[in-house]
């Protein structure tokens, strides 16, 4: 099911004009606070009525200003996970989880409900009240409540923003499993590059009320022209790799399109597909396979694009098989190496440069 959004809306001096598609998978609406992301999500949920536009999901029209159609929120079959979990304080966790399911015309089968509860790891909380839950537990219950209402799409407005790093790390795997194990399209609002890099299959960048660009996460995140929008220190591409095994010295071997990749012990079992977020500033470029160097990972590739701006820095996109890496160097180095599109190069990445939080499944 694909979500198609086209809308314009004005609040005072702020003007929002957005048009994008969210295919199945997790589509991240990425942008700074105040760029209009939440407004878009609220319009999809029916909590805000845009002045003009059209919103449809899988061919079902939710809103059409021209035709005067505006389906009320409770008939949209849109699951909304709010930033603050918004659990009902007068109901137990079980009651909260069952709330949406009770209204859903297509009630989830018991087995599926049990599977979601298990997937989210909230089975032991069912009898508890929301006010006795931790922040992370609350987020997971809110997520389960939205899923069990059997929506056609899941909207998540910075569901992790209120959580500390430890709680975020606790939820991220659940979101990955949700993305991969259910066929639910997810529209995910975030201003965190790390979250987007870890979770998104599609990225829609929102800036000042307009869509800056949209496309598959691998393309967008490795686009050197977009790096300033993510922040040059945060910019980085996603490299897919498959776990092969772990050796006695605690290093795990992964296979990637550019050759073997060694990382400090990865918990995932052999055969698991992982997404590694490799920050542009952690990548070195060499013209020949370097020898006598401590870095363990040397990936063969080609220069695809070199982007220089006003400053002393340069962003280089490398193609590694079908995939990309992004490298941040100085203009001087780029010039000294004579980096031009098509040139064969080797990317050097330290094994310890890839933080565990940058390793996602899928």
């Amino acid at each position: 099911m694909t979500l198609r959004v086209e809308l314009s809306h004005r609040f005072g001096a702020f003007e929002l004009a957005a048009r994008f598609e969210a295919p199945p998978g997790l589509t991240a609406l990425f942008g700074r606070s105040g760029s209009g992301k939440t407004t878009i999500v609220n319009a999809v949920a029916g909590l805000l009525r845009p002045e003009a536009g059209r919103i449809e999901i899988g061919g079902r029209v939710l809103f059409d200003a021209a035709a005067g159609t505006c389906v009320p929120p409770h008939l949209r079959r849109v699951g909304y996970v709010f930033q603050e979990a918004r659990l009902f304080p007068h109901l137990t966790v079980q009651g909260n989880l069952g709330y949406g399911a009770w209204f859903a015309r297509r009630r989830p089968p018991r087995a599926e409900a049990a599977r979601i509860v298990e997937l989210l790891g909230i089975g032991h909380l069912l009898a508890r009240r929301p006010d006795t839950l931790s922040g992370g537990e609350r987020s997971r219950v809110a997520l389960g409540r939205a899923i069990l209402a059997r929506p056609d799409i899941l909207l998540m407005d910075e569901p992790l923003a209120a959580l500390d790093e430890a709680r975020k790390a606790e939820i991220l795997p659940y979101l990955e499993r949700l993305r991969d194990e259910t066929r639910l399209p997810i529209l995910y609002v975030s201003h965190s590059v790390a979250e987007v890099a870890r979770l998104a299959t599609t990225v829609v960048m929102v800036e000042g009320g307009a869509i800056l660009c949209a496309g598959p996460a691998g393309e967008i995140l490795s686009d050197p022209t977009l790096a300033p929008a993510f922040g040059v220190r945060e910019a980085g591409a996603i490299l897919r790799a498959r776990v092969s095994g772990t050796e006695a010295d605690g290093l795990s071997l992964l296979d990637s399109a550019g050759g073997p990749v060694w990382l400090p012990r990865v918990a995932a079992p052999a055969g698991t597909e992982l997404r590694l977020r490799i920050l542009a500033q952690d990548v070195l470029i060499a013209l020949a396979p370097p020898a006598g160097i401590s870095a363990l990972n040397i990936l063969a590739g080609r220069v695809e694009e070199v982007r220089t701006g006003e400053g002393p820095g340069a962003m280089v996109r490398l193609s590694i098989g079908e995939e990309h890496l992004l490298a941040r160097l100085t203009r001087r180095s780029a010039k000294a190496l004579g980096l031009v599109p098509g040139l064969r190069v080797w990317a050097v990445v330290k094994a310890v440069a890839v933080a565990p939080v940058s390793i996602g499944e899928g």
């Binding site: 909304y80 709010f82 603050e84 918004r86 304080p89 007068h90 709330y99 209204f103 009240r129 939205a146």
Partner: protein
């Protein structure tokens, strides 16, 4: 207890309980509606509605009673319609006493419920909507349970006020033993006759006991409901 109160005194107590109960229960739906409208809706005339609801609190009770008589008396605009179409007569009947008590207690009831509604986070109701609940269901399954302590508090406050209502009642429905002679009216009547102090004192003690009982019940019920609802309630 039979030997302690005279049949006349029993009658006054029973009537008062009946009037206060009917007044409270019958006005409760209107109280919730008015409180919801004042707390949540923005409509022209909102200030006027607010004024009307609060008027009985500020006006001398005699004035309220007289206005009720003008409106709901046999010759009154509303009274005439009720009499001719439905055969309902309020003036000088216990039902009239219940109406007077309800009108006088209404502001207290609405204030308590309105405070409770204003304390409900509208974002919870929004969340319920996205989960498939229509507006009516949102009210029934989220708003209502969350404001239950306020409703209980408002109802008990209204009941206590209705038990003690005197000025508007005596003006609207007079002081007819067995018909409209409520506890306060009876106390007043006993104090008007020589040697009535004993009876008056007994009724005064009962009034104090009922008031204390209502207060304790309200505390207890309020706490029990809050415990059951949990969270911020």
């Amino acid at each position: 207890m039979d030997g302690w109160l005279t049949p006349e005194e029993w009658q006054a107590l029973a009537l008062s309980l009946r009037v206060a109960t009917v007044a409270t229960l019958a006005s409760l739906p209107f109280g919730i509606l008015a409180a919801y409208a004042l707390a949540r809706w923005r409509f022209p005339g909102r200030q006027i509605l607010n004024g009307l609801v609060h008027l009985p609190l500020i006006l001398p009770p005699v004035v309220t009673g007289y206005l009720l008589l003008l409106a709901f008396g046999r010759k009154g605009a509303v009274g005439q319609i009720l009499d001719e179409w439905f055969g309902i007569v309020l003036a000088f009947r216990w039902t009239g006493a219940a109406l007077a008590a309800a009108v006088m207690a209404f502001p207290l009831m609405v204030r308590a419920i309105r405070l409770a509604i204003e304390a409900v986070d509208p974002r919870l109701e929004e969340a319920a909507g996205t989960l498939g609940a229509s507006r009516a269901w949102v009210f029934a399954t989220v708003t209502l349970p969350l404001i239950l302590p306020g409703i209980v508090a408002g109802a008990i406050l209204a009941f206590a006020k209705a038990m003690g209502e005197f000025g508007a009642t005596i003006t609207f429905v007079s002081n007819i033993p067995g018909q409209t002679q409520t506890l306060p009216s009876a106390i007043y009547a006993f104090l008007q006759v020589p040697g009535g102090e004993g009876a008056a004192m007994r009724l005064v003690l009962i009034a104090v006991a009922v008031a204390m009982g209502a207060l304790i019940a309200s505390e207890w019920v309020g706490r029990a409901v809050a415990r059951r609802i949990g969270g911020r309630a």
